[in-house]
Symmetry: C2
Subunit: 107 residues, 2 copies
């Protein structure tokens, strides 16, 4: 299992809408995450910052993320979410949620 | 069990030192976290932002945090960590790591 921490900004004027969508996240999106070996996933917000934590239990992260990216329902979700978000300035071309470095973990 | 997401800044010039301390976190600090019912804790870094995720398994969060705060070894750790950190502008008086709002969770 590998832990992921990721960060992105939410546009302040879209925060309420973003929160509302996530209170009613589409079941297919949740199901797709499980199929792609994402577990124990949480998204947190404060001051326009979104933090995403999850645990990846598969053995082909790139492959599973490609499956997620190619899913039409997921693409429809992203088309709604992405205009509400702003990647960090340090993101590489095509990077959206910015991967963070794990400094410490305790069980 | 309750999930916590917290955020704080690390001073860019102290980031290397902060990382090094966490690569060699004191065993008593880890043990204290367990005694205070903190589980599955991870601290992530990107661009001067620190994101802390953990799961609290006790039934008296304030009480357990008070135990942690009164621990001399933990106080010694905080005296080293706090000068490297900068709380968010929105923090209340006395707030350090800023609690985030959970927007969504999936198993």
């Amino acid at each position: 299992m590998k832990r992921y921490g990721q960060v992105i900004r939410v546009k302040p004027e879209r925060y309420e809408a973003y929160r509302e969508y996530h209170r009613n996240v589409w079941p297919e999106i949740v199901e797709l995450g499980r199929r792609c070996n994402i577990r124990n996933q949480t998204i947190f917000h404060r001051d326009g910052l979104l933090f995403r934590y999850f645990e990846y239990t598969g053995d082909d992260y790139e492959g599973d993320m490609a499956i997620a990216a190619s899913d039409p329902r997921n693409q429809a979700w992203w088309e709604l979410m992405q205009p509400m978000q702003e990647p960090l300035e340090s993101c590489a071309e095509g990077e959206w949620w910015a991967d963070m470095e794990e400094l410490v973990h305790t069980e």
